[in-house]
């Protein structure tokens, strides 16, 4: 998300595309269970960083429309308004808006083990970009400090991707993703020429996932990116551990996040079971200042303490306190937010 703040994009184009996309979905024949859907999240976030508070109302709608049994078109957009204090002794706020498509891709199931993806897609590097970036999924309001490593500047690729389940057994499964992206300067489909992929091994009995990612930037100074992720979710405990490490040409970093749902006290839907304490530790290290990357310019450590509350009706309250340490300055970051996840058919059915 942060990378998109940098370019305040046009509002009209993505909305037009979404409307055309929805209209296309209405026209196509849908099967009984294959009605196009509208999903996504709405959120309102506040963040106080070193005493300056910003407000962020945001919407991330997603459209998914199947065509037959093997083809799916899906797209996610981001619409937000950000209010930031003027600073410099001035009172009041500046505000700016941002509207853009996050991705727009077509998925074709070629065989039981291969799905071909074409269009603008989320770069498959590590786990955060593809899995945790939707605002209604992420436990913290912020992404990790290393979220920008390996996703080739924009987080999206424009080209093709092969992905799927290589092996799926009761005791283990292996899945993969491999992509090639062309360079694009289009405002809505901005991407870098790059290629890469990811392989995951999942052990269902242990609820353990281990994966590795690789990416190579193929424009300008060619750079390699490596990543490893480990997720562990012991069965029926309410505990979850997620972690990633990534390395680029000019730096590296990691994050480890633990969260817990106290399900022992009446289950997930009891008033206690809806609490979700969180902790995330992250560190970044610069190995060279010769080039630019999305990491902080100096070595940084950050500890995030969060407490979320999972309300009924797909609503969550997110709160967190973070202490960030670096040689430039140590800062406190307080964040609160409310998110709502929606999911319904694109139109009324019979």
């Amino acid at each position: 998300m942060p990378k998109r703040f940098s370019s305040l994009a046009l509002a009209a184009t993505p909305l037009r595309l979404l409307l055309i996309f929805s209209a296309f979905g209405v026209c196509q024949c849908s099967f009984a269970q294959n009605t196009p859907l509208l999903s996504g999240g709405l959120g309102f976030f506040t963040s106080t960083n070193d005493g300056a508070t910003t407000y962020l109302p945001i919407a991330e709608p997603l459209v998914a429309a199947p065509i037959g049994n093997h083809f799916l078109i899906e797209s996610r957009a981001t619409l937000l308004e950000v209010f930031t204090p003027k600073g410099g002794g001035q009172e009041g706020y500046n505000h700016s808006h941002f509207v853009a498509l996050t991705y727009l891709q077509g998925d074709y199931t070629l065989s039981p083990h291969i799905t071909v993806v074409g269009g603008s897609f989320l770069t498959p590097f590590a786990t955060f970009n593809e899995r945790l970036s939707p605002l209604w999924i992420n436990n913290f309001q912020d992404g990790p400090l290393i979220a920008g490593l390996g996703v080739m500047q924009t987080g999206t690729g424009l080209g093709g991707q092969l992905r799927g389940s290589a092996v799926s057994r009761r005791k283990f499964s292996i899945d993969y993703a491999a992509y090639f992206s062309a360079r694009s300067g289009n405002e809505q489909f901005n991407s870098a020429r790059s290629s890469g992929g990811r392989v995951d091994l999942y052990l269902p009995e242990q609820r353990l996932e281990v994966g590795t990612s690789y990416g190579r930037l193929l424009q300008g100074t060619h750079e390699n990116f490596f990543g490893i992720h480990v997720w562990w979710e012991p069965k029926d405990t309410g505990f979850r551990l997620r972690s990633e490490w990534a390395r680029g040409a000019y730096g590296q970093g990691y994050w480890v996040e633990a969260d817990y749902r106290p399900m022992q006290f009446g289950g997930y839907n009891s008033w206690i079971g809806r609490f979700e304490p969180l902790f995330r530790m992250q560190q970044t290290f610069k190995t060279s200042h010769a080039g630019n990357d999305p990491l902080p310019g100096i070595n940084t450590q950050r500890a995030d303490f969060g407490l979320d509350y999972n309300l009924p009706h797909n609503t969550r309250i997110l709160t967190s306190y973070s202490r960030q340490f670096s040689s430039a300055k140590d800062v406190n970051i307080w964040e609160t937010g409310l998110t709502y996840r929606f999911l319904f058919p694109a139109w009324k059915g019979r």
Binding site: G92, H113, W136, R163, S165, D200, P204, L311, L338
Partner: protein, 106 residues
């Protein structure tokens, strides 16, 4: 703190308060066996009250619920679309997608 700042913050706090209050009301779709609820029951309890452990439930718990909490419920008309979307996003096998479909529409 100027007026705009105060107004925004008050609105946000009021909204949080309303949501917190609504959390104290029981969910209509909660099944009688709520102490044994699993991710599957949370997502489909509105459709089926008496589920048995199924392959589809396993697929759901191990793949979908690995990243996010299950939705409170959804229309069966989009169950196929969700399964297709999850097939791509979670790299499900053909078999797992079919089981997921059966789980959504027993």
């Amino acid at each position: 703190m100027n007026r705009q700042h105060l107004l925004l913050y008050t609105s946000a706090l009021a909204l949080l308060g309303v949501c917190f209050a609504s959390a104290q009301t029981p969910i209509q779709s909660t099944s009688p066996q709520k102490n044994q609820q699993t991710a599957k029951q949370q997502s489909t309890s509105a459709q089926k009250q008496n589920h048995v452990q199924s392959e589809g439930e396993r697929v759901f718990a191990q793949n979908c619920a690995r990243c996010h909490t299950p939705p409170d419920g959804f229309s069966p008309r989009i169950s196929g679309t969700i399964a297709l979307h999850m097939r791509v996003r979670a790299s499900l096998s053909e078999h797992d997608m079919q089981e997921l479909m059966r789980f959504f529409n027993p």
